[in-house]
């Protein structure tokens, strides 16, 4: 028996006695710590900007910010009106559109409103250029006027498929916003006005449906979903955990103590987040749920030992001290490994995962502290009767026979489990990344439902190209405009593109207007100065808020083409981006080439980016955890061996996911490192007890395995059940990234249980047969070093 373990455990028992002696001081200190750190939680705010998902170093984000600074911000509301009977160009619907257009200006921070009614329609009347709203006062107009205006709208490339569906049954009103970005209530403020307008219109115009989507609704949905999760999942979590602990401990006081441990840990984690200035997202809002789930494990292990010792006849204080002594090392190691796993989330490219990782790490650190301090301090004052529990005896007997089974059937088990795992792992290459931000939310979220409805008529995923021209004023160059036109034609030919906005269409229309609306002049002017002067004329005719400043840059040396995609599956989008680049290389002079940029582009690449980064993080995590295991178990061989039951469950979970779901969002890139930190706990507890059996009790390998099953088997199962419950709750999140994370982690920890119970014993015994000398050497060396 190594003195290293004795030293650690002697220290632990001294600590426990000291805490019990100074229990009031310990309790006061614990509470004070929670209050001081927890007060930071009052500064927590929800982020209302999807950009929080991207680190400032993200190149796609930088490109997009650049574009927005050059032209205009792209925050928007897209109102979609769908007629239930009749058409968009019926007076009643047009009245609704006109009213919506007018009222949308009242939305806070709106800087531009585009609709089919205020569309600036230009035409020639003799030598006049007439520019007017496409529709005004629809109620007073004859049917012929409305029909002719409908035809104009249908023929207008800027409207068709963008603000008017080709079947004439749906229309959209687009509101562009510019937030000052000084307060966090700006987005909710605008959203509430937008919703008021929608509700008022829905009441006045029962013949149509109104939906709102757009970037501002997306941003708001992040905050609303996070809040919803916080309001529903966290209370459910508290209730479930309380129930589970109560069922395990069969003691109300005991459950209350555990409850206070996990509550204080969560409070500290949230307080830390507030002090650091973390902006809450649905992702970081899963931190309290995860902390609640994980924080409980330490307490459960200590209390199950405590109960067993009491049952063996020990007195209360001695049993408490002994429970702390035997659990101190495994509890510390598991906390450390879990913390390491979560800290590795800092390798992610997406800041909310940094927040999740750091908040959970702090929560687990505090759970470790509170379990070791509050449990001895509080239980030493409580009456806790370890009543004779037939269940516990039965479970111990069951564990024993299970251990015998595993030892007897180790070879078939080894083969079966290895094959099964290998089969699952072989499915991993079929995993398919897909990040569509609309689908981040489930149907319980209004944004998702509205976007789904809107998507039946209009594309929701704009892709921007800022196309440079040759120097200031260069956008009027015929070559440039012809090239724009060709590219727009190419884009319109793509299957996933629903609409293309290019100034070449405006130039063609103006050229026709300038030639008395003769249709053969519907083409790019062949003179640079002519185009420039048309543009000047047109700009002079536009009303406030409908200018071209959001399409053309300040010195007219670049313009912006927008292709709107009607869907944006990651693979399809990537293929589309590549196709645009290939087309440009073939058809455009070098100076014009423009890369796609937009929120959709950012989300398209975020999975790959996160995955690449998290591979490094996860590899480092596995290495760090193996080293922690080697050092704390004082066994190189066991530390190395632990890699197998630690990493296989994650691979198996990925394989199972590929088989069951197939599609993953970028959150799964972080699952490996989160699961790793958690699944390692079972291995730690099992191996720690196995080693105690070998070293302290001098048992044979088989008996040490039996001993490990008897002493921690029950606790490991209980913990796995509680963890499964916790991640099941996370799985029920309305936010898909959380749900994915929950389900995937759930799979990993259950695979971990299977592997720890069925494969690990077989591996330990396999070592006996083949590498027993190595094992012995490492055990002895561990002993001699500390001697």
């Amino acid at each position: 028996m190594g003195t290293y373990f004795q030293t650690v455990e002697f220290g632990a028992s001294k600590l426990a006695r000291w805490i019990i002696r100074h229990r009031w001081a310990a309790i006061c200190f614990s509470l004070a710590l929670a209050i001081v750190v927890g007060s930071g939680a009052s500064q927590l705010e929800f982020s209302t900007n999807y950009r929080v998902f991207f680190s400032s170093a993200n190149p796609e984000l930088q490109a997009f910010e650049n574009l927005q600074n050059t032209y205009a911000k792209n925050d928007n509301f897209l109102f979609v009106i769908v007629t239930k009977q009749g058409r968009v160009f019926d007076p009643q619907t047009l009245l609704a559109v006109e009213e919506l257009t007018e009222r949308a200006w009242k939305i806070p921070y709106a800087i531009r409103v585009d609709s089919i009614t205020n569309f600036q329609y230009s035409y020639a009347r003799g030598d006049d250029l007439v520019v007017e709203d496409l529709i005004s006062k629809p109620a007073e107009r004859p049917v012929a006027y409305l029909r002719s205006r409908e035809q104009i709208a249908m023929d207008e490339p800027l409207l068709r498929n963008q603000l008017l569906s080709p079947d004439g049954l749906a229309t959209a009103v687009n509101v562009v916003l510019q937030y000052p970005e000084v307060g966090h209530m700006e987005v909710p403020e605008s959203v509430s006005v937008a919703r008021e307008i929608r509700d008022a219109l829905a009441k006045n115009y029962p013949g149509m449906d109104f939906h709102i989507t757009g970037v501002s609704m997306l941003n708001n949905a992040f905050a609303e979903t996070g809040m919803l999760d916080g309001q529903t999942l966290i209370p459910i979590m508290f209730g479930l955990i309380f129930l589970a602990v109560w069922m395990v401990l069969r003691s109300l006081v005991g459950s209350l103590v555990v409850f206070s441990v996990i509550t204080l840990s969560t409070v500290v984690a949230m307080g830390y987040a507030g002090f650091i200035g973390i902006k809450l997202t649905p992702i970081s809002m899963s931190a309290p749920i995860i902390v609640l789930t994980l924080a409980i494990a330490d307490s459960i292990h200590i209390l199950i030992s405590y109960r067993g010792l009491m049952r063996e006849g020990m007195n209360k204080i001695d049993a408490l001290v002994e429970a702390v002594r035997v659990n101190f090392l495994p509890v510390t190691i598991t906390s450390l490994t879990t913390i390491v796993g979560f800290l590795m989330l800092n390798f992610s490219d997406s800041p909310p995962y940094w927040h999740l990782g750091n908040m959970t790490a702090v929560g687990i650190g505090s759970a470790w502290f509170y379990s070791l301090v509050l449990i001895p301090a509080l239980f030493s004052m409580l009456r806790y009767s370890a009543a004779e529990n037939s269940d516990a005896l039965r479970s111990q007997r069951w564990m024993e026979s299970f251990a015998n089974f595993v030892i007897a059937r180790r070879k078939p088990l080894l083969v079966a489990i290895s094959l099964g795992t290998a089969m699952l792992v072989s499915f991993i290459p079929q995993l398919n990344f897909n990040d569509q931000w609309v689908k981040y939310f489930d149907e319980s979220i209004e944004f998702r439902r509205d976007s789904d409805s809107a998507q039946q008529y209009f594309g929701l995923y704009p892709i921007e190209f800022s196309v440079p021209a040759m120097g200031p004023g260069g956008i009027s160059e015929p070559e440039y405009l012809h090239n724009l036109e060709d590219f727009a034609d190419f884009l319109r030919g793509q299957k996933i593109v629903s609409h293309v906005y290019s100034i070449s269409d405006i130039m063609k229309r103006l050229n026709r207007n300038m030639h008395r609306d003769q249709s053969d002049y519907y083409r790019i002017p062949n003179d640079r100065e002519l185009s420039a002067q048309y543009l000047l004329l047109y700009e002079l005719s536009l009303p406030y808020g409908l200018d071209l400043n959001d399409r053309i840059n300040i010195d007219k040396s670049a313009s912006r083409i927008t292709a709107t995609l009607d869907r944006s599956g990651t693979d399809e989008a990537k293929a589309f981006f590549v196709a645009t680049q290939n087309w440009q290389t073939q058809h455009w002079p070098k100076y014009m080439r423009a890369e796609p940029t937009s929120a959709s582009v950012m989300f398209t690449y975020i999975a790959q980016r996160n995955f690449d980064n998290m591979i490094i993080g996860t590899a480092l995590g596995i290495g760090a955890i193996a080293i922690i295991m080697m050092l704390s178990l004082r066994s190189f061989g066991l530390g190395l061996l632990s890699l197998i039951p630690n990493s296989l469950p994650i691979l198996a979970a990925f394989g199972a996911w590929a088989l069951l779901v197939g599609e993953v969002g970028f959150s799964v890139a972080t699952v490996a490192s989160i699961s790793l930190g958690i699944v390692v706990d079972d291995t730690v507890h099992f191996l720690a007890k196995y080693l105690r059996g070998r070293r302290e009790r001098g048992l044979s390998r088989e008996d040490a395995i039996r001993y490990a099953f008897q002493s921690v088997g029950h606790a490991i199962i209980v913990n796995t059940v509680i963890l499964s419950l916790g991640f099941l709750v996370l799985y029920s999140s309305a936010f898909k990234l959380n749900a994915d994370l929950g389900l995937m982690t759930l799979l990993s920890i259950n695979f971990a249980l299977i592997l720890d119970f069925l494969l690990l014993p077989a591996l330990l015994l396999l070592k006996t047969e083949k590498k027993s000398s190595l094992d012995r050497v490492s055990l002895i060396s561990g002993d001699t070093e500390t001697n």
């Binding site: 520019v131 004023g473 009303p543 400043n549 840059n553 007219k556």
Partner: protein, 260 residues
């Protein structure tokens, strides 16, 4: 009964104060407007520098000739001729300002060699991509607005009367403007423009006022900042030339082609 009387008299008094401040507002605006009178026509060259949120700049040069109408019920006439950028050199915009109706405007396009009338009810948009609408920097027609006196406060080294003016015509891009008129020279020092939501949209500062020999004051630097988009435009005026003997015949569309 007594209460009722007090109530009525308070009501009456406040109505009176309100009416007075309206008159006062108009008086101040009118005094400021008239302090620039005393000439019949003027001509000036200016540069317009645009700056976007990313800090990029672009400039244009233009020349404005104005024919002032003595009668406040009739609008001024003006011609704007662009000299740079080169693509729009010689392009000339003729404007006949109206009080309550949309202005009449014609544009001569040298590349097309034609004059086109701009028939648009609402021209409140940005002038050649700048932060100025045409209505912001051409001579302000007194009667296009109704006025309300708000308060007196210091503005820089001067004391200013603060007025609110609301457009009397339909197609303005603004719901109201707040202007600061100094009490020494009666010149407008600053204007805030409020959008149709009533939120602050733009702030115009008028600087570098010089008084010409005919007594007329002119600002020579106009700086407009859009508070919502953070875009800016600066107008820098050269020296004004007054009374060159221009008349109505110089402000007709047939003259536009020869202004290059």
């Amino acid at each position: 009964m007594l209460k009722c009387l007090i109530f009525i008299s308070v009501l009456g008094l406040s109505a009176l104060t309100l009416a007075q401040s309206d008159d006062k507002g108009f008086e101040i605006a009118a005094r400021s407007d008239r302090s620039d009178l005393g000439f019949s026509d003027s001509e000036v060259e200016l540069s317009m520098v645009l700056r976007n949120a990313a800090g990029e700049e672009s400039s244009r040069r233009l020349r404005i000739a104005t024919l002032e109408k003595e009668n406040e019920e009739v609008g001024d006439k003006s011609v704007v001729v662009f000299s740079t950028p080169k693509d729009i050199e010689g392009t000339a915009l003729l404007s006949h300002a109206k009080i309550l109706e949309p202005d009449d405007q014609w544009l001569f396009l040298p590349a097309l060699k034609r004059v086109k009338r701009i028939s648009s009810a609402n021209k409140s948009g940005p002038f050649v991509g700048s932060e100025f609408a045409f209505e912001d920097f051409t001579a302000i027609e007194l009667n296009k607005f109704e006025y309300r006196f708000l308060r007196t406060e210091s503005c820089g080294s001067l004391q200013c009367d603060v007025l609110e003016r609301r457009p009397r015509y339909d197609s303005s891009g603004y719901t109201k403007q707040i202007s600061w008129v100094d009490q020494t020279d009666f010149q407008i020092r600053k204007v805030e423009f409020y959008d149709r939501r009533g939120d602050l949209l733009k702030v115009l500062s008028l600087e570098d006022y010089r008084q010409y020999s005919n007594g007329a004051w002119r600002p020579h630097t106009l700086h407009m900042e859009n508070k919502q988009t953070n875009k800016q435009t600066t107008l820098r005026y050269g020296n004004y030339v007054f009374n060159q003997g221009l008349d109505d015949r110089d402000f007709v569309k047939s003259k536009l082609q020869r202004l290059r």
